[in-house]
Amino acid sequence: MTASAVPASAPLALTSGQLPRFIEPALLVGVAVVIAAVQFLFGGFNLAVWLILTAVIYLIAIGVGSAIVENRRKAVDRIVRGLVTAAFLLALAPLVSTLWTVISKGLAVVNLQFITQVGGTTFDPNTLAVVATAGAWQAIAGTLIITGIAALISVPVGVLAAVYLVEYALPTNPLRRTITFLVDVMTGIPSIVAGLFAFSLFSLIVGPKAFSGFSASIALCVLMIPIVIRSTEEMLRLVPADLREASLALGVPRSATIIKVVLRTAASGIITGVVLAVARVVGETAPIFIAASFTDNFNSNPFEGPMQTLPVMAYTAYSFPGQDIDASQANAWGAAFLLVVLVVIFNLIARIVAALFAPKSR
């Protein structure tokens, strides 16, 4: 918007007192500096205290200032804007901090060898020394296999169940209401319980030596299916009823309408939801070490024997360090770093695929 050069005389109540435009950032910086200075003066600068005090004092100052110069309504508006922005920055802080911690600590160990090598040990018979070689390939492979199988099972089941809920079942259908409710309950299953369940199930089926990547996949399925259903449901509901009717009116059977029109239109959103679900379970620790046990060895057979994954590697390396504690912790951060990288890669792939599938208007 541009202001005209001639200032309007204002008998009409269009204008009111206004704080200058730059007041918010200026005041914020001012408050922050002053508080930092005060903190240094009285010894002890502390990041958390600084942030909290800055936020509180800024909000009070802008509120009071605006109430005096402008009016009460504007003051409230400015305070809320401040609060909302603060909430956002507050949330950004842990993200940046987490990522920074993971990246800085992870990059210290991660190199091509770490990624492509199976972690292990070599023994020198002369000195009796066992030298650990860092490597995460066994965990990367395990993560991909276990999560991959979980996704292969969960995605069809979840998507189809969502199709049932949205496309077939009427709102009054007791089955639909039960299932929606159960899906909500399932999202609340503690992950460790899912692990125990899967392991017990497999002990029943294959006998005591039930540790396998596959049983861990089943545990992840229990956690993943409800997430897939929920997000798919949301996405299917976003597909305008118009499109279903258009397709049906062309004499297209219901199943073809659902598959080729409804699912196709919602595909991009469904993919995003699925990837979020995968990202959510790929970092699970407790169910995996219960169902797939732990090993340092490479195992690519999901149906037999313990399997290592990145989160379990991070957890065990941190919780049960070797003699060289620092090296173990470095490994833990390396695994955590790879895990985050994996999640980011999933996300990127999903973005790209989703963009390819997204409805276009141009």
């Binding site: 911690t101 077939y168 460790i192 319980v193 409800p226 219901r254 970092g283």
Partner: protein, 339 residues
């Protein structure tokens, strides 16, 4: 399946004569697809029933056992008279920790969602949404490790501060922890973990607020905040409730981060800043004690898992009730992308 919308197609011949052109035989594709999706939906019940049955079968021995003898006598160094006495403080701890996380996390999450949907410049908003989604994807083990090395030391002086100036509030009583393994730290880390879930759901709902209603408010001379109060919040209320409860579900079930961060005790305590008086949560207690437990002790732990399951069931029922009771916002929510 009864009560489903489906095209009733019945037997007959091929569309050769005009007469028969609208007469068709049963459509295999439709039947198969309906069958598949019904099966998928029903399998949810099977899985959940499986989990519930598993919990009950494995948990029952300890729930009915005599806690004054055998492996359960003096379990975890306390003389419990029964399973219920044992699970009590754990249930309390789970709910308490989740509540703290909600109290810290929900307002922030809603703030972020509002920032992204209504305050940030449109172009920035997409990127910001992505960033928050990324937070959702950070594995909980990473949050656990991060909590230990970053948050624990960072929050120590804050604890000190709170205790010094607000110590008269029972929550902030001392002795203040020197290691940082407090309910406060745990609550903050949990809050960070539930942020993305609550944010992404509320953000979606905020974005779906019909533009019509937003513009109606603005055209009445509302400030942005007043517009949010008039148009956005009423519309999103039920969604906010369900998002919050989803977050609560996650907070209740979170295991590793809590197990790694908090210094737990099997007591009823609301203190936030101490080492020795943090109520233990069910999930963390399972994670901590399952490895060392004997069969009957495992059964006791699984019994506590069953209780957690029951709580999340109750929470969800409550959520449904609230959503259905909060009126038009719940029913009148038409989902349509705004352009």
């Amino acid at each position: 399946m009864t009560d489903t919308v489906s095209d009733a197609a019945t037997d007959a011949a091929t569309p050769s004569t005009p007469k028969a052109s609208i007469v068709g035989k049963r459509r295999v594709g439709d039947t198969v697809f309906l069958g598949l999706s019904t099966t998928a939906a029903v399998s949810i019940m099977v899985i959940l029933a499986g989990v519930a049955i598993f919990l009950i079968i494995r948990g029952l021995p300890a729930i009915t056992a005599n806690w004054s003898e055998g492996d359960l006598a003096g379990y975890q160094n306390r003389n419990w008279s029964s399973f219920w006495e044992y699970v009590g403080p754990l249930l309390f701890g789970s709910i308490w920790a989740a509540l703290i996380a909600m109290v810290i996390g929900t307002p922030v999450a809603i703030g972020i969602a509002l920032f992204i949907s209504h305050y940030a410049p449109r172009r920035l908003a997409g990127a910001l949404g992505y960033v928050v989604d990324l937070l959702a994807a950070v594995p909980s083990i990473v949050f656990g490790l991060w909590g230990i090395i970053v948050m624990r030391p960072l929050l120590l002086p804050v604890s000190q501060f709170l205790n010094e100036y607000l110590g008269w509030i029972p929550l902030f009583q001392g002795p203040v922890s020197t290691t940082g393994s407090t309910m406060f730290t745990g609550g903050v880390v949990l809050a960070v973990m539930i942020l993305p879930i609550v944010t992404s759901i509320t953000r979606e709902i905020f974005l779906q607020t019909p533009r019509l209603h937003e513009e109606a408010a603005l055209a009445l001379g509302a400030t942005r905040w007043e517009m949010i109060r008039l148009a956005v919040f009423p519309y999103a209320r039920s969604g906010m409730v369900s998002a919050t409860l989803l977050g609560l579900g996650r907070a209740l079930g979170e295991t590793m981060a809590i197990a790694l961060i908090i210094s737990p005790s099997l007591i009823y305590s609301v203190l936030l800043l101490t080492d020795g008086y943090n109520s233990q949560t069910i999930a963390a207690n399972i994670a901590l004690n399952f490895p060392i437990a004997t069969d009957l002790q495992r059964s006791a732990l699984i019994g506590t898992g069953l209780m957690l399951f029951v709580v999340s069931l109750a929470v969800n029922m409550l959520a449904r009730y609230i959503i259905s009771a909060t009126g038009p916002g719940a029913k009148g929510r038409k989902r349509g992308k705004r352009s």
